[in-house]
């Protein structure tokens, strides 16, 4: 019952997008029907036909035997000279009736000695076939016509040399097998039985094949309606299980993303609150107090100002990153001279470098013109070079090199700073990640810089790599395609 319902359920709910014809269930049934039932039918028909051939052959050899036998007896009894032999005559009459045919016996002068039609005895047979049978050496001839077959068998003397006459046996060919004949009926019955059996088996097999997919659809829907914490569990066939694995992998990914989102939100609120807390503390300590010296006011207000700047920076960065999260439709692609871009950035950052006594070197191997979003690229390099300066040693160096091949351009930012520990290298591009929390606060920064950088690089379909030893410095290499590769829209 269960299977029947399931299968009806499958058939009945075949609808929607691609229509019934595209259903796996239907296709399987169709294919199996073609593969099983058609051959069955063909075999049945062939069998019935080969039966007719077989009957034909059997009849031929039987009649041939009879002719040989009669020829023998005719020779033995001298029938050609004296045909008044009841037994042999009767035997030939019976034989001709059984096969619905006619036996004629002629002697060496072509005279008809016996005719089972009882009509032409005494007359002369001048058919060419009979004449030949008396003249040629072949003992037996067979002639096949549409409705009849004819066997002409020589009657030879005891030594087998002289031809004394011939026996001519003409008989009806077996009829075409009709639909109502026993053999047809039996064949049809048998075929129908097997066809019925095959149909049942096909329906069950097809339902079994299609059922796991139905279960999968059902489970997915349940999953969507429920919570995404559960894992998908559907078994059935290998293909369905592959799908299940992929779905689970996708769910994992989604869960991770969800987790990171939650983390991000919590981080954001934390980061946004921190400057406000500081400001609150500073302000509160001023409020409701009498006789505070002006220098103290100035100091506190200065600190509050810094915190406000900080908050601004954080919010700007957040906005940037949120913008970068949106789809690539926001890219303003244009031909940009990377050399110029880098020079501008480095000029802008010179004051900061000077402050820390850091030397800046720009090495350009060629003129690079690329299709990029200028603003975003600017963000990328500014961030990298600024980091290189900030995390550098006093009197250190920052080296920026630009190169290109026929597909990409490469920007290498090397510094002689504090470097990045090995374990941290895989996390530095994560949002809000900071290698050393304490020091970052001192140098400023929101922890979003490299995340923004990586996003922007990815939007150009490029990539960014970091290397270098802790304590000695870091090297960042950015690779961007020269020609912008747009996203393919589905």
């Amino acid at each position: 019952m269960y299977i029947r319902n399931g299968e009806w359920g499958i058939i009945l709910s075949i609808k929607r997008r691609s229509g019934k014809a595209n259903s796996l269930h239907v296709q399987v049934i169709f294919a199996l029907v073609l593969a099983c039932i058609i051959p069955l039918a063909v075999v049945a028909v062939l069998f019935v036909n080969s039966y007719r051939e077989q009957v034909k052959q059997e009849r031929l050899s039987k009649v041939q035997e009879l002719c040989a036998d009669f020829a023998n007896r005719i020779q033995n009894t001298g029938y050609l000279n004296n045909a008044a032999q009841a037994e042999l005559s009767a035997a030939m009459d019976t034989a001709s009736q059984i096969y619905d045919g006619r036996i004629i016996v002629v002697n060496s002068e072509l005279q008809i000695v016996k005719d089972t039609f009882k009509r032409e005895e005494g007359r002369t047979m001048i058919s060419e076939e009979v004449v030949r049978s008396l003249l040629d050496k072949t003992v037996s001839y067979q002639y096949f016509y549409e409705d009849t077959t004819e066997i002409i068998y020589q009657i030879r003397d005891a030594l087998g040399k002289t031809v004394l006459g011939s026996v001519i046996f003409t008989y009806e060919n077996p009829k075409q097998v009709g639909l109502t004949d026993d053999i047809s009926r039996n064949s049809l019955l048998l075929t129908s039985f097997f066809v019925g059996l095959a149909l049942c088996a096909i329906l069950i097999a097809a339902a079994k094949m299609a059922f796991p997919f139905k279960k999968l659809a059902f489970s997915l829907r349940q999953l969507a309606e429920g919570d995404l914490e559960e894992k998908l569990e559907v078994s059935g066939n290998y293909e369905v299980e592959e799908i299940v694995d992929s779905v689970n992998y996708m769910l994992d990914d989604m869960r991770n993303t969800e987790q990171r989102r939650q983390e991000f939100v919590s981080n954001v609120s934390h980061e946004l609150k921190t400057p406000l807390t500081s400001m609150k503390v500073l302000a509160e300590s001023l409020v409701g107090q009498q006789g505070i010296p002006e220098e103290l006011y100035q100091e506190f207000l200065h600190d509050i100002n810094s915190e406000i700047d900080r908050e601004n920076e954080i919010i700007t960065d957040l906005l940037n990153i949120v913008k970068l999260d949106r789809k690539e439709g926001d890219m303003q692609i244009a031909q940009v001279s990377i050399n110029e871009l880098l020079e501008i950035i480095m000029r802008r950052l010179r004051p900061i470098a000077k402050e820390r006594n850091v030397e800046m070197v720009f090495e350009s191997f060629r003129n690079v013109l690329a299709e990029v979003d200028e603003v975003k690229m600017s963000l990328v390099f500014t961030n990298l070079i600024e980091n290189a300066i900030k995390y550098n040693k006093e009197g250190g160096m920052v080296k920026v090199s630009l190169n290109a091949d026929h597909r990409y351009f490469y920007v290498r930012v090397e510094d002689t700073g504090i470097g990045i520990p090995e374990e941290a290298k895989k996390y530095i591009f994560d949002r809000f990640y900071r290698v050393d929390k304490a020091r970052s606060r001192a140098t400023g920064g929101t922890g979003l810089g490299l995340a923004i950088t990586k996003s922007a690089v990815m939007m150009h379909k490029g990539n960014i790599k970091v290397s270098g030893k802790e304590g000695e410095g870091s090297v960042f290499v950015v690779r961007i395609p020269l020609n912008f590769i747009p996203e393919y829209k589905e």
């Binding site: 058939i11 009945l12 075949i14 609808k15 019934k20 014809a21 239907v26 169709f30 029907v33 039932i37 058609i38 039918a41 063909v42 049945a44 028909v45 019935v48 036909n49 000279n81 009459d93 009736q97 619905d100 006619r102 004629i104 060496s108 002068e109 072509l110 005279q111 008809i112 039609f117 009882k118 009509r119 032409e120 007359r123 002369t124 047979m125 001048i126 058919s127 060419e128 076939e129 009979v130 004449v131 030949r132 008396l134 003249l135 002639y143 016509y145 549409e146 409705d147 009849t148 004819e150 002409i152 001519i168 003409t170 075409q176 097998v177 009709g178 639909l179 109502t180 047809s184 066809v195």
Partner: protein, 327 residues
């Protein structure tokens, strides 16, 4: 809405899956099946009016062939002479004729008032091969009997009647004495004279019809008779008896009883015909044959108990009372 849609999908799905193969299955079966066995045809030969044929032998001397021949007008003797000259030229080679003292195989002929033509071969004529002689005789007889005034031919060698190899005289020969019924495509035809009985227009009595049928000789006389009965009469004053669609499965004669096997359709008697007329039409027609005294009916191989109000399980004898105007 759901229900209606479901109904549609079932029908659509089933028809798409199953109709096609089922159709193919049925088609295959039907293509190789035949409901009724092929009906034997009588080959009737149209005799071309007024053309005479000259019969002679093929090169291998294995068969008798013919060609058209324009015979000149004249007396029958003149025509016979003309034909004989032609036949002699064509049936014997010069070499064969050279060994004869007379150079011509046939040296004399005579035709009597009854139309019997006597042909004499020269006394030193000796037959070459038996078969060739027989075929030559056939050619001569078939050619000469075309003339109206010639009814039969008798052969002599010198003054002695021609004998067969077993010593019996060949006797008087007509064209009907030579038959060629084996094989399929032949111009050979035979004439059969049969008497059959059809029903009168009221359907309660039988009328005798004497038929002359020209055919290829490959059917037995009893089958010929039944075929004529099934074909129906040509004349307007009588009607067919055997129901349409009746098929003769088999007819055999054994010990004076003729067993006639029809298919089921025979049991559906024509409405206009009485049961007696239906039965005795067949019985009287068949008992016209000298070797048939009684008739046994079978339907698809087995006997039936009754045919309408008549006992159908035993044999029938000839019934002359049902024949109209019987003397």
């Amino acid at each position: 809405m759901q229900k209606g849609r479901q109904k549609n999908s079932i029908g659509y799905v089933w028809s798409r899956i199953f109709l096609l193969p089922l159709l193919m299955l049925l088609l295959l079966l039907f293509a190789c099946a035949e409901e009724a066995p092929p009906v034997r045809e009588l080959i009737t030969v149209e005799l071309p009016e007024g053309s005479t044929k000259l019969y002679y032998l093929n090169e291998e001397r294995t068969k008798v062939i013919s060609e058209n021949y324009e015979i000149s007008r004249g007396t029958v003797e003149e025509q016979v002479a003309e034909l004989l000259t032609e036949l002699e030229a064509v049936l014997w080679t010069d070499a064969e004729k050279a060994v004869l003292t007379d150079k011509n195989p046939i040296y004399e002929y005579k035709i009597d008032s009854a139309g019997l033509l006597s042909l004499r071969f020269s006394s030193d004529y000796s037959a070459s091969s038996l078969i060739t002689e027989v075929l030559r005789r056939a050619a001569i007889v078939k050619t000469l009997c075309q003339l109206d005034k010639v009814t039969a031919v008798e052969f002599f060698i010198g003054t002695q009647p021609l004998l067969t190899s077993s010593g019996k005289p060949v006797g008087v020969l007509t064209a009907e004495d030579f038959i060629d019924t084996t094989g399929e495509n032949s111009e050979f035809y035979q004439e059969a004279k049969v008497s059959v009985y059809f029903a009168n227009l009221e359907g309660d009595a039988l009328l005798e019809s004497n038929l002359k049928i020209t055919y290829d000789g490959s059917l037995s006389t009893e089958r010929l008779i039944l075929q004529q009965l099934m074909d129906g009469p040509i004349m307007d004053d009588r009607q067919a008896v055997i129901p349409e669609g009746t098929v003769l499965n088999k007819v055999t004669i054994r010990d004076g009883i003729c067993y006639v096997d029809f298919n089921e359709k025979f049991m559906e008697k024509r409405k206009e015909i009485s049961a007696e007329a239906a039965i005795y039409s067949v019985v009287n027609s068949l008992t016209e044959l000298s070797n048939v005294y009684r008739v046994q009916f079978l339907i698809n191989g087995s006997t039936r108990k009754t045919y309408y109000n008549l006992d159908f399980s035993s044999t029938f004898e000839r019934n002359l009372e049902i024949v109209e105007g019987e003397q």
